[in-house]
Subunit: 157 residues, 2 copies
Amino acid sequence: MQEALKSFKKYLSLNNLKLTRQRLLIFKYFMSDVGQLNPEGLLRGVQELDKTISRSTVYRTVKHLHNAGIARCIHRSDGGTCYEPMGDQSCRMICEQCGKTVPVRNPYLECLQQETARQQGFTLFRYQNTLYGLCPDCAERMGRPASPESKNDKRRF
Amino acid sequence: MQEALKSFKKYLSLNNLKLTRQRLLIFKYFMSDVGQLNPEGLLRGVQELDKTISRSTVYRTVKHLHNAGIARCIHRSDGGTCYEPMGDQSCRMICEQCGKTVPVRNPYLECLQQETARQQGFTLFRYQNTLYGLCPDCAERMGRPASPESKNDKRRF
DNA sequence: CTCAGTGCAAATGATTTGCACCAGC
DNA sequence: GCTGGTGCAAATCATTTGCACTGAG
């Protein structure tokens, strides 16, 4: 958290931005919260601490957190957007249903990736592998993905 | 394409849906197009063939294509939504200097990735591997070795 | 013939923006 | 004190929906 706060401050000063009470509050709430939350949830949480903080400020700030590399933005399959603190995992799976993020640990995969880049003459700085799909829980809950499952979206019109 | 058309028809009949002129047209345009396109692009493309097709119909149809497992829906990091025919996965390298994007093809990597997801009970829809770094050209231009030993076995692929 | 499909326009919901006052640095 | 920040309300943008007519099976 101190780490992240430092990079947030750095980002701000590099961009001529100010560390306001609101930004700090949003930052703190965001970092202390477990898991992900959407702008609305962030707003609610933050307003418990300070009634006056506006929705616009939350939206504006979360964008800065994202630009600063502190927040990761997740677009869920249901169209919702949510954010979570950036972890250091560079290989993860995201459930498109519930938005859950699961880190993937496979050293061999990482190794192979580096080797692949190297073979093509690429100097690898960092990488980001994102696997999109269904987590075991959601897969079970849904029966089967991508099939005549239109009951939910079917309606008379 | 015939394959996909068949499953589209199957999906429709299984759900008491009709194969209308509009749906067929949208389906065909979607399948013939290279790469991804968003609803707006799809609408534009389809309207070149038939002025009367409405935005709503495109939206409604693309959803069916998605439910039928024919279209993959992608929520981009910029917030935009786009669709592409199911099937091709993506793995690419982005040069942080010149911005060039280079596709990476390594079947083994893809295979390993799928296997890794499977092992953790994840149903994989698609993945996005992004390697950030320097392309050979920029690395050279910057007078920096691409990587300890990549100069010698550099290859275009 | 019947019920689902369509185009249209209006509605929705998330996110953004213009503006006049407010506060870090 | 200068600049960027904020809250508010209005604006925007993608997507959805209600409706009355049309067309596929």
